[in-house]
């Protein structure tokens, strides 16, 4: 509000003088048209306040002048005589100053301050009255001197004007001019009319030079200059809500005395003593608030422009180069710098500058840690109270994709006889594979039902919901758990999640672990006739044809299974339906066929499934029992694409669908059949594989000795092996044409040798070296290199306990785990020592039966160990056994290389010995030839005895060597024959 007033103040600083705020009035007065009489004394005396505005702009703002203008009389109140006389001469000719005595005043009714006043100063007197006064008083009359003029005055009335201030020397003025009289009588009325007349004849005033009279200073002083921005206030009256404005309550008058007790609280007046106190001191404060300011600035935007510069590097032309090359300075420089370079380069040769100490330092630090850091720590254990009793763990497999899921197969720990006895009895509980989740160690997620005890099984690497298992009765079993994948994946122990159901309406079946029936079993006649001991899916990058040729796998999924059994057979199975396979069934048919709700994924295989390739492992020597395979190992591994050409690898990776898998329930999708069109034969894939056997040949020690005596030293070692229980067989799976017929049959083993003193329990390839095998059986284990058949790279002295399984570490090339009959695990570290385990730890009080390792994350690696009590122990691998130490791969590679070279050397020595022996025989034959009937002399007897002794020494040495008590590089001490 004040803001609105403020401009008015500033814009009209001079309005106080004008006193005419309306613009109309102002504009009317703006035409000054100074009246001619404005400067005349008569005009001045009679001018009223309204005329004051016409006095010119120069004097307008002076308050003193203002007052003069307001007053009808001159400003000089007490004029001196001289001044009076001066003033009198300004009187117009027909006006005279006159003194009228108080008596005359009374007579003429002109009494000062009664009839005439300062304001009302004019009075009209009759001529007759004045003449009468002159007659009666004669010379004494005040009007005597004007007798003639009065008489001559044409009109009847004469104007008398009261001079209040004696301005013109006397107290009255008398007018003898009728025109002036008229003017005096009606001064205010006539003026505006005159003025209007004047404006019509308005002549613009001539410009005059302005003379400073000090007014500009006054104006300057009066001027209001804004030296700060105007303040703005925004006052907001809080709006009342409609409710507050019009409350619903209605008020009425009540008498407080009557209704006092009816909920009326009346606060009565009283005198507050507090207010008697006089406030003597006042605390007050003022807060200066910062002015609110809004600023903005504009910056110049320089728009981006693409600019470039092209330049050309300076080069010498050929001529210049040759010229410069001749420059002596250049020659000097090069000759001089040559030594410097030489020095630097030689230094670098002596000391490798690219060796970073910091990098090497880190690796060693990893190995450090407390004593607890290097031991296997029990992470979890799974054991079913009901089903695990008296069962042994036969196989453990980690789920390939879902974390924290582990499948365990259990079998009755019965001997062959017990089993045979129980054959006829009804089996009350089916053989099961347990699917455990780390979330719930009490109840398994799934049970997989099998027709008989499962010895081995494996998830399909490309279709993790498909599981193939090998039975004790020789059948291959297939499961499809696709429908239950969600249940496995569900991290919660859902069977205890009672919140899912309304109390009283629990679905009991939901909480129970489902039993899943197998999808298919192989036909009994065409399968194995002995328990299946090993089973493996063929890796997805190749497939094997019925001719045994490895070809490209165009479907890029694992579909073939390889199994082995005691019945000296290795079988290859195809899981895909044959070309133009089973036609899809209608829903009704399906229900009839499928009363158990089993997925129809492998319906086409059920009970009619035959292996497409059969390998019979014959004994190399006629008359001996055929090999009884326990374990096998092929060179190719899942995920290893080396066998494919580079081009194929790319297409392979491209084609690879993440959701892949051809094993679909035919309900969902039409069957995919084998597409072998254009499948190239992969030359790089090695069709040879190793088989670990159980030798049923029992040869007496005596026979062994016999063989030894008959054979050459080189062969002896071999023979020594042949009588071992666990043999290692190198076998080609490609059938070959028999020489005498067109039939194809499995070729004889390329090589075989008894290597361990018990049935082979494990045959595993190193994850780092494709050609390095770890074989275990009986009480020993050995490391072999593929195609180096003269002996093992590493063999141990027999352990005190039987070995049950071995497992390589997936991250450390030199580390493997050995499980033993007494429930202990030995950790071998080839870098640490090769004659004894680095760590030996007891895990279970019963025999361990199976080991399976899985890398969960870069920080965690778990080893699952099954024991013969049906329990699976999950052990966490300590960091020292998980993290490869600095250059471990290199060190282990070197070690294995060294050992391979040693084998070559040993072979070389064998040949030498053979030669020696032949030479000796030749010599003895010569001796015999020279004196055949000669009675042996003492020397001859000595030689023979020495030879025999040497033979014995060599035999003893070879035995000791086999037991690991002698190094092979040592040569037996041979007594010279002569």
């Amino acid at each position: 509000m004040s803001g609105k007033q403020a401009p008015a103040k500033t814009t009209t600083p001079k309005s106080t003088v004008n006193q005419s705020p309306t613009p109309q009035a102002a504009s009317a007065q703006r035409r000054p048209g100074p009246p001619p009489q404005s400067n005349s004394p008569a005009g001045r005396s009679n001018v009223t306040s309204t005329t004051s505005a016409t006095k010119g702009p120069n004097k307008l703002n002076s308050p003193a002048k203002n007052q003069v203008a307001a007053s009808p009389l001159p400003v000089v109140k007490s004029a001196t005589l001289r001044e009076v006389s001066e003033n009198a001469q300004y009187l117009p000719p027909n006006i005279h100053s006159i003194f009228i005595s108080s008596a005359t005043q009374q007579a003429l009714q002109l009494s000062v301050d009664e009839d005439v006043t300062q304001e009302n100063n004019t009075k009209m007197i009759d001529k007759e009255v004045l003449l009468k006064d002159i007659e009666s008083l004669g010379q004494g009359s005040n009007f005597y001197e004007f007798k003639e003029q009065i008489q001559n005055y044409p009109e009847n009335e004469i104007a008398i004007v009261y001079d209040y201030d004696y301005y013109y020397s006397q107290n009255f003025l008398i007018c003898f001019d009728p025109l002036l009289k008229n003017f005096i009588a009606n001064p205010p009325v006539t003026l505006p009319i005159q003025e209007a007349d004047d404006t019509e004849q308005y002549v613009p005033p001539e410009p005059k030079t302005w003379i400073s009279l000090g007014s500009e200073v006054e104006i300057e002083n009066e001027r209001l200059i804004t030296n700060r921005p105007l303040k703005r206030f925004k006052i907001k009256v809080p709006s009342r809500s409609a409710k507050a404005v019009a409350p619903s309550e209605k008020f009425k008058d009540v008498d407080p005395d009557i209704d006092r007790k009816k909920n009326i609280i009346c606060i009565e007046q009283y005198e507050d003593k507090q207010f008697d106190l006089k406030k003597m001191e006042l605390d007050s404060s003022v807060q200066a608030a910062a002015e609110h300011r809004e600023n903005s600035s504009q910056t110049i935007w320089r728009y981006p422009k693409n600019q470039w510069t092209q330049y050309e590097a300076r080069t010498f032309t050929d001529e210049e180069q040759t010229k410069t090359m001749k420059d002596e300075q250049l020659i000097d420089m090069i000759m001089h710098s040559q030594d410097l370079f030489k020095e630097a380069l030689q230094q670098n040769v002596i000391h490798n500058p690219f060796y970073l100490d910091w990098n090497e330092l880190g690796g060693d630090l990893e190995g450090l840690g407390g004593p607890g850091d290097s031991h296997l720590r029990e992470y979890q254990s799974f054991s079913s109270i009901k089903q695990s009793r008296d069962m042994i763990v036969t196989c453990i497999q980690w789920h390939p994709t879902i974390r924290g899921i582990i499948a365990v197969s259990l079998a009755a720990g019965q001997s062959f006889d017990e089993r045979a006895d129980n054959m006829s009895r009804t089996i009350t509980s089916p053989s099961l594979i347990f699917m455990w989740s780390f979330v719930d160690p009490i109840q398994p997620k799934l049970y997989l039902e099998a027709p008989d005890d499962i010895q081995c099984f494996q998830f399909s690497p490309t279709d993790p919901h498909v599981i193939a298992g090998g039975c004790v009765n020789g059948q291959v079993v297939m499961w499809d758990i696709k429908e239950y994948e969600d249940r496995i994946r569900n991290p919660r122990g859902d069977h205890r999640d009672k919140d899912l159901f309304i109390p009283g309406y629990e679905d009991e079946s939901f909480f129970q672990t489902p039993h899943i029936r197998f999808c298919a079993v192989s036909s009994i006649e065409n399968g194995h006739s002995e328990p299946i001991t090993d089973l493996q899916w063929i890796p997805d990058h190749f497939q094997i044809t019925t001719q045994g040729l490895p070809t490209e796998n165009l479907s890029m999924t694992c579909s073939q299974i390889m199994t082995c059994s005691f019945d000296s057979q290795v079988l290859l199975w195809e899981t895909r339906p044959p070309r133009g396979g089973a036609k899809p069934l209608s829903k009704k048919e399906r229900e009839i066929i499928n009363p158990m709700g089993v997925p129809l994924t492998f319906k086409h295989l059920d009970l009619t499934w035959k292996p497409f390739l059969r390998l019979n492992l014959q004994s190399p020597e006629a008359g001996q029992v055929d090999f009884a395979p326990r374990k096998f190992s092929i060179r190719e591994t899942q995920g290893d694409r080396e066998a494919l050409s580079k081009e194929d690898q790319n297409t392979f990776e491209k084609k690879k669908e993440p959701s892949g898998g051809q094993f679909v329930n035919p309900v969902d999708e039409a069957n995919k059949s084998i597409s072998q069109a254009k499948a190239k034969i992969l030359q790089k894939i090695d069709t040879f594989f190793y088989v670990g056997t159980e030798n049923t040949n029992k040869i007496r020690i005596k026979d062994r000795l016999y063989y030894f005596k008959r054979s050459s030293p080189g062969r002896r070692f071999d023979i020594n092996r042949r009588f071992r229980d666990g043999q290692l067989v190198y076998q080609d799976w490609m059938p070959q044409k028999e020489s005498d017929s067109t039939k194809f049959s499995t070729p004889k083993a390329a090589w075989s040798s008894g290597v361990v003193d018990g049935p082979v329990v494990a045959l595993k390839r190193s994850p780092f070296f494709k050609d390095v095998l770890l074989i275990a059986g009986g009480w020993i284990f050995q490391i072999w290199r593929e195609k180096v058949h003269s002996g093992s790279l590493l063999h141990t002295a027999p352990l005190k306990e039987k070995i049950t399984d071995v497992e390589w570490s997936p991250t450390r090339p030199g580390v493997f785990f050995v499980s033993k009959q007494n429930g202990g695990i030995d950790v071998w570290d080839l870098i640490d020592r090769t004659h004894a385990p680095s760590i030996s730890q007891s895990i279970s009080n019963t025999a361990l039966t199976y080991l399976s390792i899985k890398t969960i994350s870069s920080k965690q690696q778990l080893l699952a160990a099954g024991d013969s009590n049906g329990t699976v122990h999950i052990l966490e691998i300590p960091q020292s056994l998980r993290q490869p130490i600095n250059q471990e791969l290199q060190v282990v590679t070197n070690y294995l290389q060294r050992e391979t070279e040693r084998r070559d050397f040993v072979k070389h020595r064998w040949n030498l010995r053979e030669e020696e022996k032949r030479e000796k025989e030749r010599l003895s034959a010569m001796k015999m030839g020279i004196a055949p009937s000669h009675i042996p002399t003492q020397d001859e007897i000595d030689i023979r005895m020495k030879n025999e002794y040497n033979d014995f020494i060599q035999f003893e040495f070879s035995v000791l060597q086999e037991m690991g008590l002698r190094d092979e590089n040592e040569a037996p001490v041979i007594v010279p024959a002569n």
Binding site: T324, M325, I331, I334, S337, F341, N348
Partner: protein, 106 residues
């Protein structure tokens, strides 16, 4: 007389260059003038271009550094040891020689 001396010396230079190049691990030899253009190089053109441009400024900088520290001193040789290779630089008044020695493991 002097021309024969020069020609013999030139042959000697070629010999020297060859000797340095056959040294173990050496895979580049560049002779350049101080205005940035190279006289002789055994590696490909673009690499030489970038190498000469960058190394020259570095060696100038190193030279000025050495001289600032002690005005009577001068830079004679510069070895830049990197993860993959070692760059040996021999600066002179008008010319500059660079030898690259690579880590054989890379």
């Amino acid at each position: 007389m002097s021309s024969t001396v020069v020609s013999t010396q030139q042959a000697e230079i070629e010999e020297t260059m060859k000797r340095i190049q056959t040294h173990k691990g050496v895979h580049g030899f560049v002779v350049m003038s101080n205005d940035g253009s190279f006289v002789r190089s055994t590696i490909d053109n673009s690499t030489t271009m970038s190498l000469t441009g960058l190394i020259r400024t570095l060696s100038d900088k190193a030279k000025s550094c050495v001289r600032d520290l002690d005005p009577q001193n001068d830079l004679t040789f510069l070895r830049i040891r990197t993860k993959k290779q070692e760059i040996l630089v021999a600066p002179d008044k008008d010319y500059l020689t660079i030898v690259l020695q690579a880590n054989e493991q890379h």
